[in-house]
Symmetry: C2
Subunit: 313 residues, 2 copies
């Protein structure tokens, strides 16, 4: 059994319903039969452990907002709640590790994961380059690990082009019919291209600006240059690639009825031998009350009915 | 044994060194003794499987850039390489799942994870709100799940304030000594506050604009309002919270010497019973060649010496 909690540490003491529901689990010897996983904004320890957080609070305090956006503009959050969604991934790693340990030793564990720790852990390259003096935030669309490495304006949209190695740069020059620059010592190696970043970006910008977005991508990718279109949400949701990989799947109501035109996300892990997929739609509110409170926690039918009548569950 | 590859599908056929080094592993029955994990930009299947990607290409094609930033500005990437760093987390979940299956069944698996799948998987709330017509990208610092929910200018910096529930809103009003608005029907419930978002934001903006950043945070947090300062990278790296949780640890050279003043990231999972930590510094290039090619893959000393002389390893 895995007992997951997502709340500010200590708040269970102020929420009697939680204690009530949890106590049958907590009375078990937790390390023998239960793995616990706590998720919170700042974790179970440290001076900020009782602070409240939603996703952007952690984006702000991790430094992520400091490195995102354009110089001279106000700070801006990443448009998806990545601290909210990445933290449970880290917790799942902790839970699976604890389960494996239990398979080997018979003893489980108690996992404590915070959104601030998790989001910081996703920023190693920023922290390294910053401490090395290689970046002066915000970064906009450049990156200290490559040049040219930016977002360029095509006739009908934007193309992101990212070159890192000298091979990348030479491939890009061939794609643009600019072999004349391959042996140019001003741009030969990455430090040279960083020293002349405006010049190498101008070469790319001038080539792209009169061309359509998708045509640019086709030419560059055919020369093994990492690039891609900046897609609108409509385009992203129409992705043939995501559909081919079962990452956009028709959504169903809890009763199993299709919701026309609305897609949900699939599972981002493909197993060759034992593939996984969603087998039931999302449950209705309270659909599994009897399974959880009754079969799992041992609350009897009369008490479940009383809790339901009282509006507790 | 876990065999991890990070390359465009098919490129191993163009890289004989890879085949050479891999073949002792691949000759084993992979599902009996080895778990494989492939990481790539777009995965082993689908029409884009052979395309090249670095992190921002996937940010562009997932729609993340479309929802990030301010209206009327060019698209902008998230300042950290989150597709690069989140994808291996998803892969680790796949690897641990395959290892657990092998502990139970004796049979491992082959895991295929793509950066595009992984980053899309971190955007469920964006995809839901967008399909529901609740957002018109880019989102800047607002969010359809709350109001007021934005980044506000204090005298000496920015504070992010995020309210979602009616309780959050009432707590915020008490913190600002604006109890007079608690029963105001214009702002009573979240849909009301969305309808009057400029008004509720103005209430917060006016209260914050004459106050210092950290003082605002202290007052609001003492009223259980989720908020936080927008920290610079220097401030984020000085975080007492991250230090208390061993998330910022002194970096060592491969020889075990301290690198004064430079911090590396710790492990974002705290186990209560069996804590984990880094026990050795990062290896020097080739430090483990004998362990990997010799002990693990069975290449003899003479051949290892020959490969080294030839510059292959």
């Amino acid at each position: 059994m895995i007992n997951c909690r997502m709340m500010v540490p200590g708040s269970e003491n102020r929420r009697r319903i939680w204690i009530y529901l949890c106590s049958p689990v907590e009375r078990m010897n937790p390390f023998d039969t239960v793995d616990h996983a706590d998720h919170s904004g700042f974790g179970n320890t440290g001076p900020l452990r009782e602070r409240r957080a939603y996703d952007p609070i952690v984006q702000a305090m991790s430094g992520l907002m400091a490195v995102t956006g354009f110089a001279g503009q106000p700070p801006v959050r990443t448009g998806a709640a990545i601290a909210d969604t990445a933290t449970p991934m880290i917790a799942v790693i902790g839970i699976l590790s604890a389960l494996m340990r239990r398979q080997s030793t018979g003893r489980g564990d108690w996992v404590d994961v915070s959104m601030l720790d998790a989001l910081s852990f996703l920023m190693p390259e920023v922290i390294e380059y910053y401490q090395g003096g290689a970046i002066d935030p915000p970064l906009a669309n450049r990156h200290p690990g490559g040049a040219p490495f930016n977002c360029f304006h095509a006739t009908d949209g934007y193309v992101y082009v990212a070159t890192v190695t000298d091979i990348d740069w030479n491939n890009l020059l061939r794609a643009m019919d600019r072999e004349d620059l391959i042996d140019d010592p001003r741009y030969a190696h990455l430090p040279d291209r960083h020293d002349h970043v405006d010049e190498v970006e101008a070469v790319v910008e001038n080539w792209i600006k009169g061309r359509p977005r998708d045509g640019v991508v086709d030419v560059l990718q055919s020369h093994q240059v990492a690039c891609g279109p900046v897609l609108s949400m409509d385009e992203a949701l129409a992705s043939e690639q995501l559909r081919a990989r079962d990452m956009l799947i028709p959504l169903e109501t809890p009763e199993g009825k299709a919701v026309p035109g609305i897609m949900g996300l699939g599972i981002p892990i493909r197993f060759a031998d034992d593939p996984v997929q969603f087998d039931v739609p999302a449950p209705q509110l309270g659909q599994h009350n009897h399974d959880v409170y009754g079969a799992l926690l041992g609350v009897d039918d009369a008490e479940i009915a009383r809790l339901k009548d009282a509006g507790v569950i």
